[in-house]
């Protein structure tokens, strides 16, 4: 769709704002509706729009498939290890109070960290699922070509 001027211009205009809204929802989640889950989805939507306009190949140059696996695991582990850090500092699992002497600061550190983990996982998982389905047709066509070459 890169040869459609209207789509390209609108997408170039919109994608930064979509990514910015995603980050806003992520880091402003304590004050307004939102949080890691919604932010991850919005952020992934920005990338998917980029792929729809410029093609999967260029999209994967922005973030490779390998990076997606790694980051989706990193997000979950960040959550789990935040809980573990509470245990190491002398609290209960996922108890954020030992992070700081001020209970409000401690809770906010914990909440922001785990929400960031959730956002990371959700964003990369959404990208990953989209990539998996989007490239399938190309693989089928290649398999079809190989089959025909083999038959002739």
């Amino acid at each position: 769709m890169i040869d459609n001027g209207i789509l390209r211009v609108i997408a170039r205009f919109l994608i930064p704002f979509i990514l910015l809204v995603g980050l806003y929802i992520q880091f402003h989640g304590e004050y307004s509706p939102g949080g890691g889950f919604q932010a991850g989805v919005v952020f992934a939507a920005g990338w998917i729009l980029y792929v729809l306009i410029y093609g999967l190949e260029r999209g994967l140059r922005v973030i490779s498939l390998r990076a997606m696996y790694l980051l989706s695991a990193v997000g979950v582990l960040l959550y789990a290890f935040t809980g573990l850090a509470g245990v190491l500092l002398g609290g209960k699992y996922l108890d954020f109070t030992p992070f700081s002497s001020n209970p409000h600061t401690a809770q906010q550190i914990g909440i922001i960290t785990v929400e960031f983990g959730v956002g990371l996982t959700v964003a990369t998982v959404a990208m990953l699922l989209f990539t998996m389905f989007a490239r399938r047709r190309g693989e089928w066509l290649e398999a079809l070509e190989e089959e025909q070459e083999g038959g002739e």
Binding site: G34, P103, R137
Partner: protein, 188 residues
């Protein structure tokens, strides 16, 4: 009311592309409903996930499948009977429920007041939903994150194997003008 109309249309329509778009409309209507009920977080989730990402995933699956549903003849009267009976029982059960929004509902007297009173003094953050989600009920949220990760792993396990033959019926689509490489986006 609109939700019912859209739902019936989804069941009736044979064009899967139209059905996918109707699902998006359904999600958007529910998001509006949640927003009217003042549940900002749920409305945001429904709009982003239900109307956004789910629709994109459904459409990307539709590029792999046929566009029209294969019609099956006849009606399944047993299924209709089961659905009607279950629906009647559920509606009968709602008669016993307390008044919607009444002050002495179980939802209003159990943990709700505790969260409402303590979340700001405990956390110092105004969004109570975030406080409950990430701190009071943190282990549940962690489980959620693991479920999402597991979903990605299972899709990866199913789709990462390169196919040795194409699905019957796959033809090379005539590429739109000047963009032959659009779907051949494998990373090399």
């Amino acid at each position: 009311m609109f939700l019912v109309i859209v739902a019936v249309t989804i069941v009736r329509v044979r064009d899967l592309f139209a059905a996918g778009m109707m699902f998006a409309i359904y999600s958007l209507l529910s998001a509006g409903l949640f927003a009217v009920l003042d549940a900002g977080d749920v409305a945001l989730t429904e709009a982003a996930v239900g109307a956004g990402i789910s629709t994109i995933l459904v459409l990307s699956v539709l590029t792999l499948a046929r566009r029209y549903e294969h019609p099956t003849g006849g009606h399944n009267w047993l299924a209709l009977g089961v659905v009607l009976a279950t629906g009647a029982i559920l509606i009968y059960a709602t008669l016993d429920l307390p008044q919607f929004g009444a002050a002495d509902n179980p939802a209003q007297v159990h943990v709700g007041p505790f969260y409402t009173e303590n979340s700001y003094s405990d956390m110092g953050i105004p969004n109570m939903v975030a406080a409950v989600l990430a701190s009071y009920r943190s282990i549940d949220t962690m489980g959620e994150a693991f479920v999402i990760f597991a979903a990605a792993l299972s899709v990866f396990a199913l789709l990462s194997v390169r196919p040795t033959r194409a699905m019957p019926g796959v033809r090379k689509r005539r590429p739109p003008r000047g963009s032959e490489k659009r779907w051949e986006g494998k990373s090399k």
